[in-house]
Structure formats: C-alpha cells, structure tokens
C-alpha cells in the first residue's frame, strides 16, 4: 500500500498534469478568438478588448493555465462563453445523466459477461457455447452506432416495447426512467460485455488447466465447486483489469450513444461545446473525462492487488 501511494499515485498525477496542460494548450491553438465570436460581428475593437480582459484572455498563457487549475481545484469553473450558465452547473447536470447511463451499462456488462463466460467453460452443450462465442465476436465487431440503430429498429419501431429515445428523472418517474435507460444502456454495454466475456473465459480455461484443479478433481471435488471456488477467483484479477479499461471505453462510447438516444448527458454537452467553441466547457470536460479515466485505472490496480495477493507494489 505504501509503495502504491509513493509510486503509482505520483505517476498518475504526472499523467493528469501533462494531460491538463495538453488540453489547455490545444484549445489555445484553435483558430479564431472567442472574444471576437462573443462580441458579435459588428463589435468595435474596444469592446473586444474589454471582453478579452474580462475573460482573462489577455494574461500570459502560463498564468491563465495556473488560474484555470486554481478554479478547477476550487470547484468553481466560472461562466460558459457561448452555451450560457455556469460551467459547473452545466457539467453537474450532464454528469448526473451520464453517470446513470454508464453505471447502468456497467451493471449490464457484468450481468451479461460473467454468466456467458461461466457457461462457456462449464462443458455443457458445446453447440450453445460455440454460438455464444460467435455472438461475442459479432458484438465486438459491430460499432455502437450500428447496434444502437438496430436496437431502435427492433425494440422501438418493430416491437414498440421501448421508447426510441429521451430521458426521465430516476427520482420523479422511476419506471419511465428505466424504460428510457434500457436501450442506450444495452447498446453501450454490448461491446464491453463481449470483451469481458472473452477475457474471463480465457482466464477460466487457463485456470481449469492448472495443477490445483487436477488435484481437486482427483480428490473428488464437484465440478461446480471447482469452477466457483478455485477457477473463478484465479481468473478474476485479469478480468477486473479489463473491466477497468472498459470503463474508459464506456465513457467515450457514451458520447455517441447519447446522441442516438437523445440522452442529455456529457456527450451532448461536449458536442455543443466543440461546435460552439465554448473553451471553458470543452476544456473542463476533457479534463474531467481524463481525470475520471485515470482514477478508474488507479482503483483497478488497487483492486487487482487486493484480489491477487501475489501482486505487490515493488
């Protein structure tokens, strides 16, 4: 744990600082000055200069960067340029919707992948296991926007079971909210579930080939117990790593899935920010996503060493 704090944490912080500086510099490279855009087409140079001063755009780059980091750490991100409102509030609203979507799909990923992998190695009905394997290849190969459109075609247009898109508050109308959540969460979950199922199945197969499994079988331990008590705990650590990496993919995938299903999350916000050149929104969002991604990987590493005591932070 101590080595973890002294080695892994500083390197994660270094990645964050580098990423934040990259994001900051990248957005300064954008052709076109936000002050000019904000002032409108007929503004006088004096107005533009006044706006530049108000936004702090006339300060040296490095002090702008430090000022921004200070704002981020204080949690007060200031006003947005083009979308309107406070950036913190915009991000807060979007974050709530996106977190709902990602958590729901994360649950779906586990619920879909773990039984699939366990079933595939259980040795029963080989044809079904083969079919599941083909299905995971398919789910992996097809882009989320294709899956999304197909899901809408089948469940919303064809069967009329679920709404094609939209969003309801989980607190005001829980049953409606779940209906709206179902298709986007499934669409987002499928590729990651396929990847997790694959890795878990490989891990289980490898564990089942180990000596301790042979010994347990020779001692007459039932197959089911071997699978759950011996193979699964040994296959879990690498599966957790894969799951951690997939969370990053879920965040990125949410951007597209939110668009297909008209889900009012961070994806829509980032897209608005990019197309309307709202620096602060894009800058803060990118930092937030990278920070979230780095944090998830840190947690994954911690969890890994907890699940597999052989891993020590040397």
């Amino acid at each position: 744990m101590r080595t973890f704090l002294f080695k892994r944490l500083p390197s994660a912080l270094a990645v964050l600082v580098a990423a934040s500086f990259t994001v900051f510099l990248m957005l300064r490279l954008i052709p076109g000055d936000p002050a000019t855009t904000l002032a409108g087409p007929d503004a006088s140079p004096a107005t533009i200069a006044a706006i530049r001063e108000r936004l702090g755009l006339d300060a040296p780059l490095l002090s702008q960067y430090v000022h921004w980091l200070g704002q981020v750490l204080a949690g007060d991100l200031g006003p947005s340029y083009a979308i309107g409102g406070q950036v913190s509030e915009l991000i807060g609203d979007g974050l709530a919707a996106t977190v709902q979507l990602t958590v729901a799909s994360l649950l779906l990923v586990v619920v879909l992948a773990v039984p699939t992998a366990l079933y595939a190695v259980s040795g029963r009905r080989r044809a079904l296991a083969g079919a599941l394997r083909a299905l995971t290849t398919g789910a992996l190969a097809v882009p989320p926007f294709v899956t999304g459109v197909v899901l809408v075609l089948v469940f919303a247009v064809g069967l009329g079971l679920l709404p094609a898109g939209g969003h309801a508050s989980l607190f005001d109308a829980p049953d409606l909210a779940v209906q709206y959540l179902a298709l986007p969460a499934l669409c987002l979950a499928l590729p990651s579930a396929a990847i997790l199922a694959r890795y878990l199945q490989d891990g289980l197969e490898r564990a089942l080939g180990e000596d301790y499994v042979r010994t347990a079988t020779a001692l007459g331990v039932p197959r089911r117990r071997i699978l759950w008590r011996h193979a699964l705990p040994n296959a879990l650590p690498s599966a957790v790593t894969v799951l951690g990496l997939q969370i990053g993919q879920l965040i990125a995938g949410a951007v597209v899935v939110e668009r297909i299903f008209a889900w009012p999350g961070l994806g829509q916000l980032i897209e608005q920010g990019v197309s309307r050149r709202d620096y602060p929104v894009v800058q803060d969002l990118l930092l937030l996503v990278v920070a979230g991604y780095v944090a998830v990987q840190l947690l994954t590493d911690l969890l890994y060493s907890w699940l597999d005591p052989r891993v020590r932070w040397e």
Binding site: V142, P143, F145, V149, A156, A164, G248, A252, I260, R277
Partner: protein
C-alpha cells in the same frame, strides 16, 4: 543477377503462418466480406449512373428501376450514396492507418536508440492513451473543425500508440537475439542493426494490428459523423448515411438498412481477418 538470401528464415516462416491463417474459414470469410464491399465501392462509377449528391424531385421514394434502393430525404439516389460512401470510408482509413503505423513505427525505432528516448516516447504513448478513444477525436475537432482531414488525423493519432507499443516490444526482444548480436560483433553500426536486422524481424505483428486498426477507423469515422463532426456534407460516408437515417427509422427503415448492412460487413470482415491472422501467427 542472382540474389542469395538465407539468414531471414525466421521471418519468412512467420509470413507463411500468416498466409496459413488466411486459409481458414475466418480468413476466407473476412477476405470475401472486405473484398465484396471494397469492390462495390471501387466499381461505384460503373455500377450506378446516378450522381450521389444530385437532388431529385422525389424524396424518400421506394426502390424502383431508376433508384434500386430508393432515394433519401432530399431525393438523392441511395445506392449511389452508399457506394460512394464506401469509397470515402476506404480512402480515409487507407490513408489514416498506414500513416498511424508509420508514425508509431518511427517513434518505436526512436525509442530503440537510447534509454532517454525510450522514456520520452513511452510517456508520449501514455499521454495519447490517457484520452479514451473518441474523446481524443473531440479534442482534435475542437481545434481543426470538422472535415475529412481531421477525421484522418484523429484515426492516425489514435492508432499511433498501439502500433508503436507493439513494435517497441518486438524491437526489445529481437535486439537481444543472437543474429542481432552477431551483426553488432560483425561491425554493423547501431542504426544498421536496428533498421536492417531487427526491424524486418519485429514488424510482422503489426499486420494483425493493421487489420484491427482498419475496423477501428470505420468506427471512428462513423462516430464522428454521428456527432456532426465528421466529413462535411454532402459527401457521403457510411457513418453519415446511418446517422442521417435515424430520423426516418419509423417511417423509412430501408434508408438505414443498406448502410447498416455494408458497415457491418466491412467491420466484421476486418475483425475476422485480424483474428485469422492472429491465430495463424500463434499456431
């Protein structure tokens, strides 16, 4: 002129394994899928007379003799748009993926020259990978605006660390092999050992990565089109055709069907090829 070559036995054997991988059902299916779609795109000017961007009087027309797949929401011939969309996607990924591979390989070779260079290059890869996939694309479009070249740059950039890391791993292994040591003992300079001896033996795994990268390229192009940040209209792409069809899913599902089928076939084809090559290499 006679060329005598013998020391590359290891390399040529591994290349035979890739060919053997392609001769499995996965490889053949992948080749057929990719080949059919690519051929349809390349033969677009002969398969249809219709201009993909020309608007006609009939919007959302049903399939007919004039328009084999019908027309879209502003009366453009759907077949022609799908075929030309294939062409756009192919031209994008076939520019972006080799570019990403070359830059990644160059960086990996640079990393092979010294410890300091290795450290810098590795951190560079880490930095790019700390932006999950599409998020990197959004950052790039924020700077460059939407368009064809930003899409190419995003796909190339996203692939650089994958190609780079793979080649770096190969270089590290091959550099310690006896033939490389022998070459160094024989008086070859560092650069010569790296480029003439190590590189040819470390480059093979990039073939598999290439097939994966092509399918990822189609993913990224489509996702950016969905966000309105891809290739500018009216030029058709597979992604923009699918995203354009979403508004008409309940009334005209045909509009979505054709680009969905083509995109799935193409991506599935690349995935099967990657898997076939990978299995071949490991057998």
């Amino acid at each position: 002129m006679t060329t005598i070559s013998f020391p590359l036995a290891a390399g040529s054997r591994s290349r035979n394994r890739y060919v053997a991988g392609l001769r499995t059902w996965r490889g053949v299916t992948g080749l057929v899928l990719v080949g059919t779609v690519a051929l349809a795109g390349l033969l677009a000017p002969w398969l249809t007379d219709a201009d993909p961007d020309a608007q006609g009087p009939q919007a959302l027309a049903a399939p007919s003799g004039d328009h084999p797949l019908g027309t879209d929401d502003i009366g453009r011939d759907l077949l022609s748009r799908v075929l030309h969309g294939i062409l756009t996607d192919l031209s994008i990924i076939l520019t972006a993926v080799p570019a990403g591979a070359l830059i990644g390989a160059a960086l990996a070779l640079l990393a092979g020259t010294s410890r300091a260079a290795d450290l810098v290059v590795q951190r560079l890869f880490d930095l790019v990978l700390s932006f999950p996939g599409l998020i990197l694309g959004l950052a790039v479009t924020a700077i460059l605006g939407p368009g064809r070249w930003p899409v190419v740059i995003i796909i190339a950039l996203a692939e650089v660390p994958y190609f780079g890391r793979q080649l770096r791993a190969g270089v590290l292994v091959q550099r310690e092999r006896e033939y490389a040591l022998a070459a160094r003992v024989g008086g070859a300079g560092r650069a010569r050992v790296l480029l003439r001896h190590v590189l040819p033996n470390a480059v093979d795994p990039l073939i598999v990565q290439g097939a994966v990268a092509l399918s990822v390229g189609v993913f990224i192009e489509g996702a950016l089109s969905f966000l309105g940040l891809g290739v500018r209209p009216p030029e058709p792409t597979l992604g923009s055709l699918i995203s354009g069809s979403v508004a008409y899913l309940d009334t005209d599902p045909v509009l979505a069907a054709a680009p969905l089928a083509v995109t799935t076939a193409l991506v599935l084809g690349f995935t099967l090829l990657a898997e076939a090559l990978n299995r071949g290499a490991r057998s």
